[in-house]
């Protein structure tokens, strides 16, 4: 915004698009700022379908729901949600491999030395077992168990958090009720025109198919990949990361549930991408993310359908995308939230997290007037950092592989990676240490899970480990392992937990 602007008070927010991003934004703004007199309008068209981004989520969504006053039981009933303790990665480093990236810690640090360093020293011993055995959420996942965490920091039940796997097509309607109850005005209609102020270039209004003109002070673009405002109107530009993450399509299809209800999402590496499996209460969500440069659409669809657990429930549909982000997520008086802002494949369930971060940062930096250059720059700086750090983490899964069974894996294994990731890999390979940062989604336990899961083995362990005798460490590990095993066994079967707590579909 230029200095010559009139410093008009921001009183009207117009959200274009009513999918997950649109209604999360509307519900978030209405819950947090509705009482300040902010008028929130959402324009959506029933004629335009929604992508229904992110059936699998991260634990942060619970904080979002809690903050805006969503009742967990109502949310679970409305979206047929299940609980999620982590993500299983199958066939990533080698065919036949499996590891879980849990939403929690591994073991307990001792004498200031991280737990995995003790485990590294003893990992050659027969009775040590995999690192997974020392993570309660992983052990619980393998047993199909679930229990809500404890607030008592002394309890092993406090060492994890949980997320949800839910029907994303139902989340938006659920939040619509929530948002409308808090004053959001919904307009049914298709946007056919966008008017910009001649001097500032800011968006002044949008015009609907009916001819209705809707004016606003701040616009949130939740129109999905098309980016109706942020790109088609404001020509913001897009930064592609396809050289690092070449997958550009996904084919998705639901199937009937089969087998026990698992408290985790599965991502199985394939010859030119990977397949997801997300267990909901009433069905299983499936998809195949792939690179069209390495596999055709028909073959990709076949790979998906041939590997379903149960009967196909709907025709597979294909999504096309380019991994990357807008050069500015906030440009002029328009903020792009959701797929209009950028896309990172859902390998680590980050889609809804990025929406949530977009909303949270917008709330923190919400402008008072239309003179908001500083707030906009800070928003873009912080969102850029979020995107870039998640990008590096995703690249790790592809690059740190031993697979050489397809051109796709050969390309990814040998490609040049960002320097920030290369430094992290070198440090871990050398000593099992993780280069930490203060800002960013994935913390040390996540990096440890994926680095070790991808068979990046440190050549040395921290020599301070040797301050304790092998016998002492062995006893410590054994005690911890038994404790995890017992705690997981004492949890509920996942499906029983939903039923017994009145959360099962049709029970609540």
């Amino acid at each position: 915004m230029s200095d010559e602007s009139s410093d008009k008070h921001v009183e009207r927010v117009i959200i274009i698009g009513g999918g997950t991003a649109g209604w999360m934004t509307a519900a978030g703004l209405a819950s947090m700022l509705g009482s300040t007199g902010l008028a929130i309008t959402l324009i959506e068209s029933e004629a335009i379908g929604i992508v229904g981004v992110g059936e699998a989520t991260l634990p942060h969504i619970k904080y979002f729901n809690d903050t805006i006053g969503v009742d967990e039981a109502e949310f679970i009933a409305a979206t047929s949600a299940t609980f999620k303790l982590g993500i299983e990665f199958v066939d990533w480093a080698r065919k036949g491999d499996s590891y879980i990236h849990p939403f929690g810690e591994f073991g307990l640090a001792n004498e200031g030395v991280p737990f995995h360093q003790y485990w590294s020293k003893m990992s050659g011993a027969l009775d040590t077992g995999p690192l997974d055995d020392y993570s309660l959420p992983v052990v619980a996942c393998r047993k199909g168990r679930f229990q809500r965490p404890s607030d008592d920091p002394r309890s092993v039940l406090s060492t994890y958090r949980y997320a949800y796997q839910f029907d994303a097509m139902q989340y938006a309607p659920f939040l619509r009720k929530h948002g409308e109850a808090r004053g959001v005005t919904r307009i049914e209609g298709k946007v056919t025109g966008v008017d910009q102020e001649s001097e500032s270039g800011n968006i002044a209004s949008v015009t609907l198919e009916t001819g209705q003109r809707v004016e606003g002070d701040l616009f949130v673009d939740c129109t999905g990949f098309i980016g109706l405002l942020i790109e088609k109107t404001l020509k913001t530009g897009y930064e592609s990361w396809s050289q690092y993450l070449p997958c550009d399509r996904a084919v998705a299809a639901p199937c009937e549930s089969a087998g026990p209800l698992l408290p985790y999402t599965r991502a199985t590496a394939d010859c030119a991408g990977w397949r997801w499996r997300i267990p909901l209460q009433h069905r299983t969500g499936n998809g195949h993310v792939y690179s069209s440069g390495f596999i055709g659409d028909e073959d990709a669809e076949r790979a998906l359908v041939d590997n379903l657990d149960g009967k196909l429930l709907a025709d597979p549909r294909i999504l096309r995308f380019v991994t990357g982000k807008r050069r500015k997520l906030w440009n002029h008086n328009c903020i792009a939230i959701g797929l209009s802002g950028g896309f990172l494949e859902p390998l680590e369930s980050t889609s809804i997290y990025l929406i949530q971060e977009g909303i949270t940062k917008l709330l923190e930096l919400f402008p008072d007037t239309d003179s908001f250059t500083v707030e906009m720059e800070e928003y873009n700086r912080r969102m850029d950092l979020e995107f870039e750090r998640i990008r590096d983490f995703l690249i790790l899964h592809y690059h740190a592989t031993e697979r050489d069974d397809s051109d796709f894996w050969n390309y990814l294994r040998t490609m040049k990676i960002p320097g920030s990731l290369a430094d992290k890999l070198e440090l871990f390979r050398n000593s099992g240490r993780i280069a930490a940062y203060d800002h960013g989604l994935f913390l040390v336990p996540s990096w440890i899970a994926v680095l070790l899961g991808q068979r990046i083995g440190p050549t040395n362990y921290d020599w301070r480990v040797d301050q304790l005798s092998e016998e002492h460490i062995r006893q410590h590990l054994s005690g911890l392992r038994n404790h995890m095993e017992q705690a997981a066994s004492d949890m509920f079967d996942h499906a029983n937990f939903l039923t017994q707590n009145g959360l099962a579909r049709g029970v609540a």
Binding site: T67, G112, L365, E378, N460, Y461, D462, R464, Q467
Partner: protein
């Protein structure tokens, strides 16, 4: 898998409190794994007077068995709830904890700002618990800090602190070698990688940690910057702000201990150390610049310029990776240097104005009552 071979000998070059801190901590962290810690001291008296220990360094002291309550009882130290910093406008007090209480995820100063702009006359320090306790007697202050769970640092007699650390180091088997370092020789035909010489002795070592106030080792090694290079770690005292000297030593030593590569040098470990060490250095320099430099100079530093701009625009203080100072310290420094927000965060408007005034009045009264109790005690 095997561990990297532990360092056999680490030589610390320096005097007084600085060398004692390094010796005590490294002996504790590395001694049990067999590392021999030798202090090469030039015998210089070093600085005297008092030194400020920031709240974050108390854990470091605790690891060495130094309890703040006992230090205060012995009259070696007194609790500190804020540090007085020099600035171009005179001394500025930066509290170690925020004024008031955050509400609904919004920092207190936004509410105060909103009320001030609506004509509610009060100063931010009237809501400050740390500033209220700053002048209390040690016993009362420590009790209150525990009761209110607010962080505190220490103002401590440098020589006494050094002696306590020397005692810890000696008990952990640290050896002292008198004499000023005159040369560092790289060895290629020996089992040892380096030989350090004074006029009287020669000591072979795997690693050299230089915490001297001067630059004798720096000259001998040929390094030009503070940080970790090869087998040489230099931790200088940094910018002359209260608490920073001990902070730099504490952070540098603990991080070094967590990254020591073993006998073989590892570039990635030193790279990681330097990345964070220099990031912290930048944050400290940002604060020093805010306090003492003019606006033009401050604007040369992007992270600082961002803090000034965003704070002025909407009262928020953006944070970087590896911040050293807490938001409440930045808030005090920014305001002391004449930067005031044009508005409060929009989220602070959620509280109705009447409710806001009643809440602020109640908080102010509680702090005033506490101040009276503290003064009377």
């Amino acid at each position: 898998m095997s561990s990297a071979k532990p360092l056999r000998r680490i030589v610390i070059v320096g005097d007084g409190m600085r060398a004692a801190m390094a010796a005590a901590y490294l002996a504790k962290a590395c001694g049990r794994a067999g590392a021999d810690i030798v202090v090469m001291s030039g015998g210089e008296a070093g600085k005297t007077g008092q030194v400020v220990v920031r709240p974050s360094a108390l854990r470091f002291n605790a690891e060495l068995g130094l309890n703040p309550a006992e230090l205060c009882k012995k009259n070696i130290a007194s609790p500190l709830f804020a540090a007085e910093m020099p600035s171009s406008n005179g001394p500025v007090t930066l509290p170690y904890a925020a004024s008031g209480v955050a509400s609904n995820g919004v920092e207190f100063h936004h509410y105060w700002l909103r009320a001030s702009q609506a004509g509610f006359d009060s100063a931010l320090h009237e809501y400050s618990l740390p500033l209220t306790l700053q002048n209390a007697r040690s016993g009362i202050a420590l009790e209150s800090a525990a009761g209110f769970k607010i962080p505190f640092g220490l103002r401590i007699d440098r020589a006494s602190y050094a002696q306590l650390l020397v005692n810890v180091a000696s008990a952990a088997g640290v050896r002292a070698s008198k004499g000023k370092l005159s040369a560092v020789q790289k060895l290629t035909e020996s089992d040892w990688p380096m030989r350090l010489s004074t006029s009287d002795v020669e000591v072979d070592a795997d690693f050299l940690v230089d915490v001297s106030e001067g630059s004798s080792a720096e000259n001998a090694v040929g390094a030009s910057r503070s940080g970790w290079s090869g087998r040489y770690l230099r931790i200088d005292s940094g910018v002359d702000l209260p608490g920073i000297e001990v902070f730099r030593l504490q952070r540098g030593l603990t991080r070094f201990a967590s990254l020591i590569p073993g006998r073989g040098n590892a570039h990635s470990d030193s790279g990681e150390f330097n990345r964070i060490f220099h990031a912290e250095e930048n944050r400290i320099t940002d604060m020093a610049c805010l306090l003492t430099a003019d606006e033009a100079e401050a604007r040369q530093r992007p992270a600082l310029a961002r803090k000034i701009d965003l704070f002025t625009a909407c009262g928020r203080i953006p944070s970087e990776d590896y911040e050293v100072f807490q938001p409440c310290e930045w808030l005090a420094a920014l305001m002391a240097r004449g930067h005031f927000p044009e508005r409060a965060e929009r989220l602070a408007e959620r509280m109705p104005e009447t409710e806001l005034r009643i809440w602020l009045e109640s908080l102010r009264r509680q702090i005033a009552d506490l101040r009276k109790q503290v003064e009377a005690a």
